[in-house]
């Protein structure tokens, strides 16, 4: 099994979620994060001084999927989340050794 971790622009969440649910993905876990990279934040006025907002809001989507699904998922997310402008985000794939569905105790790919 693999974890596909996607950092995307917040307004892309619905498009990405719809694209992956159509591929039979049973679920995902989402968190609000802030990204720092080449994309610059805007400047803000605070107590009379202008300063750079460095960390931009992003959405992090974690999906654990079976090995066979990884490539299709990575391609679908990249296609859906891409605007072509700096700051679109990243997709990282890493190995998951065990998975358990808490409700039933099932484990392995059947628990996904």
């Amino acid at each position: 099994m693999k974890k596909v971790e996607c950092i995307i622009k917040p307004f892309k969440l619905d498009d990405v979620k719809n694209a992956i649910t159509e591929m039979g993905i049973s679920g995902m876990t989402v968190s609000e994060v802030r990204g720092f990279g080449r994309q610059k934040g805007h400047t803000e006025l605070y107590r009379g001084a202008e300063y750079q907002v460095d960390f931009l809001p992003k959405i992090k989507l974690d999906l654990v999927v079976t090995d066979e699904q990884v490539q299709a998922i990575v391609e679908a997310v990249q296609k859906e989340a891409c605007t072509g402008r700096i700051g679109d985000g990243k997709i990282f794939v890493s190995d998951v050794e065990q998975s358990v569905r808490i409700r039933t105790g099932e484990s392995g790919p059947d628990s996904l």
Partner: protein, 292 residues
């Protein structure tokens, strides 16, 4: 006969819509909230509108669409319809059904490998269109039942359940009496003793053994479609599916006139229309129709 076929298929949809309200509740919780749940009111864990159906009816309709468009048994067509259905963002998909459909999407295989975890009721709940389409030829029904089941569920208990449910629906349509239907359950219990239901435990989970015990207990201890379904859905657990399976057998057995009109009227109009249309067309394509 056409009326009985409609009653079986409508029984499935009515049981699904009625039971969905009490799915995953315990009998005590149902009693506390509804005293006796006997109206189609939607709600439930899926927040349904009154008369809305779940995967039990939708997957059955998918099978019907594949068979009616091919006018013959078409397993790949059924798998394709399941895939279209999965992509349509249905209100719910069981995890075993989802895995099977996903496996078909990724590999094109029309049979999922054997799995201990496949003893759920997701294949048995789809038996109505299969029984209607193969009415008049039990051997053919058996072949179709196992092929469609193995798209998502590959386990001897699920297999046995599909065959028994299919036979009961067909024989009910062909005019079997209560004792003849009971005999079919005794065959099942002979092969798999754990399906024995004469000391009913009250478990109504999605484990196919619990599901059929619940269905058979209420089917044989009540005397009308309404009484049977009310008993089943107030047992909670996987109530939409126990309701759907009880509904298809009881519907076929008691006939259309015995299905409460208030339930039929509450059923989603489009679902009701498609169920009725499929029932008629599936029977007209069956071996029974060819002979009559």
């Amino acid at each position: 006969m056409l009326q009985r076929a409609k009653a079986a298929y409508l029984g499935l949809a009515v049981g699904d819509a009625l039971g969905a309200t009490t799915e995953f509740m315990t009998p005590n919780e149902i009693r506390a909230k509804y005293k006796i749940h006997r109206k189609i009111i939607g709600g439930g864990w899926l927040y349904l509108k009154p008369g809305q159906v779940t995967d039990d009816t939708q997957m059955s309709l998918a099978i019907g669409r594949a068979l009616l468009s091919a006018k013959r048994w078409d397993l790949a067509g059924i798998a394709d319809q399941f895939l279209v259905w999965m992509k349509s963002k249905p209100i719910d998909i069981g995890s075993t059904c989802r895995r099977g459909i996903r496996n078909y999407m990724l590999t094109g295989q029309l049979e999922t490998p054997y799995n201990d975890g496949d003893a759920g009721n997701g294949a048995a709940m789809r038996m109505a269109p299969v029984a209607l389409f193969s009415l008049g030829d039990e051997k053919v029904m058996e072949r179709y039942a196992l092929e469609q089941a193995h798209l998502t569920h590959n386990h001897p208990f699920s297999d046995a359940a599909c065959l028994t449910v299919g036979k009961m629906v067909q024989r009910a349509l062909l005019g079997a009496n209560r004792f003849e239907l009971h005999e079919l359950t005794r065959d099942l219990v002979d092969h798999h003793g754990n399906f024995r239901f004469n000391k009913y435990s009250g478990n109504a989970t999605a484990y196919v053994v619990d599901t059929l015990q619940t269905v058979f207990h209420y089917l044989f201890s009540t005397a009308s479609f309404e009484e049977c379904l009310i008993g089943v859905v107030n047992q909670g657990g996987d109530a939409d599916t126990t309701g759907a399976i009880a509904g298809m057998i009881a519907g076929g057995f008691y006939g259309l006139d015995d299905i409460p009109n208030r339930w039929l009227k509450k059923l989603n109009r489009e679902v009701r229309a498609e169920v009725e249309a499929q029932a008629l067309h599936l029977v007209r394509l069956s071996p029974w129709a060819a002979r009559n």
